[in-house]
């Protein structure tokens, strides 16, 4: 008997759950983060410029690690927002999602697609800001910061998956946001401490992230099916 295996692609599964396709979702995620970063930085720069002039604004924003920090926080916030989405039965759409073709298999595809979307989205976001920094320097140790933040955000994705096995919604959400904030800030500070050098810490974090993401994703799905899917 055919059980729980559907011919749905990941993009189709995402369309069932979100009404939009996977590429659109990834693009949307990247755009939101990029616009959030650019608009905020531009706003602070213009405000400081109006108050204390161009040189002071440039020093305060770009040479003080503030823009680096904001790059990390923005990314961390984005990862946490997408990762805490669990499509609970009690939430709008929860019962519909449990009744569609494939059942949990479709949910699994959606979560995997969202994970890919977050990873690609984060890389694109950091890449765009990195490219922007190459044209108009807006960050201190720009290239190193971009790599460092990307590595720590990806490690954060893995840890958020692990956190999502926590059953208490509030604790899970708070912890997810807190750890994303801490990790992204660590990513910026390490570059500050090493004066723009990427080192062993980044290699370890990258390896940990690469190993942790698939493992924690599987753990998260197994735990969700057992404890939350149809209880």
């Amino acid at each position: 008997m055919e059980k729980n295996k559907t011919s749905l692609t990941m993009s189709q599964a995402v369309k069932i759950y979100n009404g939009s396709s996977l590429p659109f979702l990834t693009l949307q995620f990247t755009c939101i983060l990029t616009v959030m970063y650019v608009v905020t930085i531009a706003f602070f720069f213009l405000m400081t410029c109006a108050e204390r002039g161009f040189a002071a604004a440039r020093e305060e924003l770009f040479e003080s690690f503030m823009s680096n920090m904001y790059l990390a926080i923005c990314g961390g916030f984005g990862v946490a927002v997408v990762s805490v989405q669990t499509f609970e039965k009690k939430l709008p759409g929860g019962k519909f999602f449990r009744s569609v073709k494939g059942g949990f298999d479709t949910y699994k595809k959606v979560r995997t697609a969202l994970l890919l979307s977050v990873i690609i989205g984060i890389c694109l976001y950091i890449g765009i800001i990195g490219a922007l920094n190459a044209v108009v320097p807006i960050m201190n140790y720009g290239a190193a910061t971009c790599v460092s933040v990307a590595v720590f955000l990806l490690l954060g994705v893995g840890i958020v998956n692990l956190i999502s096995v926590i059953k208490n919604d509030l604790a899970r959400t708070v912890l997810s946001f807190m750890q994303m904030f801490v990790l992204s800030v660590v990513g910026v500070f390490i570059v500050h401490i090493t004066k723009g050098e990427l080192g062993i810490v980044h290699i370890i974090a990258a390896i940990l992230g690469i190993v942790l993401i698939p493992v924690s994703h599987k753990l998260m799905l197994a735990s969700y099916r057992k404890r939350r899917w149809n209880t």
């Binding site: 008997m1 369309k15 069932i16 039965k89 019962k95 519909f96 073709k101 949990f104």
Partner: protein
């Protein structure tokens, strides 16, 4: 089944009929429906569908059942267009044209229109109409609806009864409807068979016409209440009058006490049966 539901076996094998699941709040109606539709997992017991199918995770079975819950069935930021896109992928038997036709019938607008309202901006009644249009646009053999009439106005309830009748007659006896309801009076026209639930158990079930022959509605003067009460299943009253449900086999005896005995409506029957169950539960 989940721990909330216990006891008797529920045999529901009445094809071509609409069955109402009736019970007080917390009786286990939604839990039963959720289990039947694979939304909630069962911890014990067995559910068999269409004769021998038992695995609700099987897509071929899911496709034959049209399920809809009473509140927030779809995400609130969805529009008719999003619903159609999602349903089309989520089920093999969703018909876009039929959905558009049902939306028109329910006065919801055109799902293909460019500008559409999100569900969150619709009234509860229109949200329910949207859910119903979506589930009815699928070519299913069994409709399982959790309180479909709860937020509908009387006209829409009437339309829902008509739609049930059309649904049942379209495939010439191959389809069935199972729905839970508290609006028994409004849905009586659409109900052929009734299942009464209390405290997670099925306490009574049967065809409405059979139940109306099994039970009678008794009412009379308060002076004779003491004599009639022992023969009645449920009883409410004061010094001046009383009313309740009794078994039809006691009709002659009750008439001899000068009481009025009538055929109950489904609403009166439900109140009597559920009141009796509540009294038994309290004991």
């Amino acid at each position: 089944m989940r721990s909330k539901l216990r006891g008797r076996k529920l045999l529901y094998h009445y094809c071509a009929f609409a069955t109402a699941l009736i019970g007080a709040n917390g009786a286990g109606k939604t839990t039963l429906i959720d289990i039947l539709c694979g939304v909630t997992g069962k911890t014990s017991g067995e559910a068999a569908y269409f004769g021998s199918l038992t695995d609700i995770d099987d897509d071929s079975l899911r496709n034959r059942i049209g399920y809809c819950s009473s509140a927030n069935f779809f995400p609130m930021d969805w529009t008719l267009k999003t619903i159609a896109n999602s349903m089309e992928l989520g089920f093999d038997n969703f018909d876009r044209a039929r959905f558009a036709e049902l939306c028109k019938r329910f006065k919801l607008g055109d799902p293909a229109a460019n500008k559409q309202k999100k569900l969150i901006k619709l009234s509860d009644g229109n949200k329910m109409r949207t859910y119903l249009a979506a589930v009815l646009a699928r070519d299913t053999e069994l409709l399982v609806l959790d309180e479909p009439a709860s937020s509908l106005d009387p006209l829409a309830r009437d339309l829902l009864c008509d739609i049930f009748r059309e649904y049942l007659s379209e495939r010439d006896g191959e389809r069935s409807v199972l729905f839970s309801t508290h609006n028994i009076a409004d849905m009586e026209f659409a109900t052929d068979h009734a299942i009464f639930m209390a405290h997670g158990q099925v306490i009574e079930q049967g065809f409405v016409e059979d139940l109306k022959q099994k039970y009678v509605l008794v009412h009379g003067d308060g002076m004779i209440a003491d004599k009639a009460k022992p023969l009645m299943l449920s009883f409410t009253g004061n010094r001046t009058s009383f009313e309740g449900i009794a078994l039809a086999e006691n009709t002659d005896m009750l008439r001899s006490y000068d009481t009025a005995v009538e055929v109950p409506t489904l609403q009166q029957l439900s109140v009597g049966i559920l009141r009796k169950a509540e009294e038994n539960g309290e004991k």
